[in-house]
Symmetry: C2
Subunit: 207 residues, 2 copies
DNA sequence: ATTTGACTAAACTAAATAGTCAACTAATCG
DNA sequence: CGATTAGTTGACTATTTAGTTTAGTCAAAT
């Protein structure tokens, strides 16, 4: 009953976008409200703090963006290594697009925000870790499937996943720091090499 | 003439420590002043803004910490791959120590701050990039020397350096996000594997 | 020893920011 | 319809923050 609203959704969208384009600390509640076209009173009607909104925004991002996207690319019907390379290629493209649209390479919001606030905001950190752990499963299953299929050299899947995640996150962060999407261009090939893929696998030519 | 002061040095030290333990955005000029035991009037006597101080603090960090440390570990008198592994092992130890001392894994200040402010503070970003580029040379020369020596499989040194830096930075960031220094434990071994070192090389047992 | 310039102290202003509140509006249900 | 619940608004306070000012202190060079 009563009236309904999507102001809370607009707030989550605005918060995510601003934290991503700038940083958690640089964004104020006023900024978020004004971008969402919501008054401060309404903000506090829905959320108690910026941290609480950030947690909700990250969860929404997972549910509406990351998960659907990952499910699409990491479908079991696709060859394991192809899941990975097509995903990373699309990642590269999306960062190129962001650079064109905003003049900035934004990288990964979970990693950026997580790195920024891990020593401060406990709840936000926990949500970031949770989301990164969910994403990890996709990578790990690629490795297991590739291993079963024999398309990569034998290895310990958990350790390889650590290394792969590290490499990807590191290169993505590098791209943000350098504000240069081209850093991401060789990421598919780098990943395959890290995994010791037996064949070149279907990656599009990369220079 | 006139008197001398080390207030500016204390400000740089305080700024670096705070940005590292928390984040660039979470730290205020008042925080820095109070940690450095310097009054705001003196702050503005030496620096125009937090950004300017941050640039000076990062440069000081390079000059007094990073460079001496890197020169020590990456001495040409040491076998190329041993330079890398001993450096990474000491990195692991220092992060374990930070965790004990502060209860927090801090990661790399240049990467954390760089990632946080790359879309906002132009001057600080430029300094971060400069410092990361200087550090890159040490990695690249390890790769070239290892290649010349035949201790790693043939590769393109520049591309390998990209991947190695990505991996290291990614794992270090991961350690900060997870607040878990153990993430760094296998970094020496991971790096050797990424480089395709021909022998196990002198790494202490890991796992 | 005095002068000069480097530095400090503390109190100040102005702006930004977080957070509150009570009155208001609109949708829904009986 | 009118009552109820859900959401909105703008004006409000209190605090934090950046940045300024001015008078004064101290150390070194002459």
């Amino acid at each position: 009953m009563g009236r309904t609203s999507d102001a809370d959704e607009r707030l989550k969208d605005a918060a995510l976008a601003l934290m991503w384009e700038e940083s958690y600390g640089a964004v104020t509640i006023d900024n978020i409200c004004s971008r969402a076209d919501v008054k401060k009173g309404s903000f506090y009607y829905f959320f108690d703090s910026k941290a609480e909104l950030a947690v909700a925004a990250l969860e929404k991002m997972w549910e509406t963006e990351w998960k659907p996207n990952l499910d699409r690319f990491f479908s079991s019907s696709v060859e394991p290594l192809t899941r990975l390379t097509t995903y990373l290629e699309s990642y590269y493209k999306s960062q190129v697009e962001a650079k064109v649209r905003l003049g900035k390479v934004l990288g990964c919001p979970a990693c950026s925000v997580g790195c920024e606030i891990s020593t401060q905001e406990v709840d936000v950190s926990a949500k970031v870790r949770e989301i990164l752990a969910r994403k990890r499963r996709y990578y790990e299953s690629v490795i297991r499937d590739a291993l079963a299929e024999g398309s990569i050299e034998p290895c310990d899947p958990a350790h390889k996943a650590d290394a792969l995640i590290g490499l990807i996150q590191g290169i993505v962060t590098q791209a943000r720091i350098m504000n240069d999407a081209e850093v991401l261009r060789h990421l598919p090939a780098m990943s395959l090499e890290l995994l010791r893929a037996k064949q070149p696998a279907s990656t599009h030519p990369t220079s």
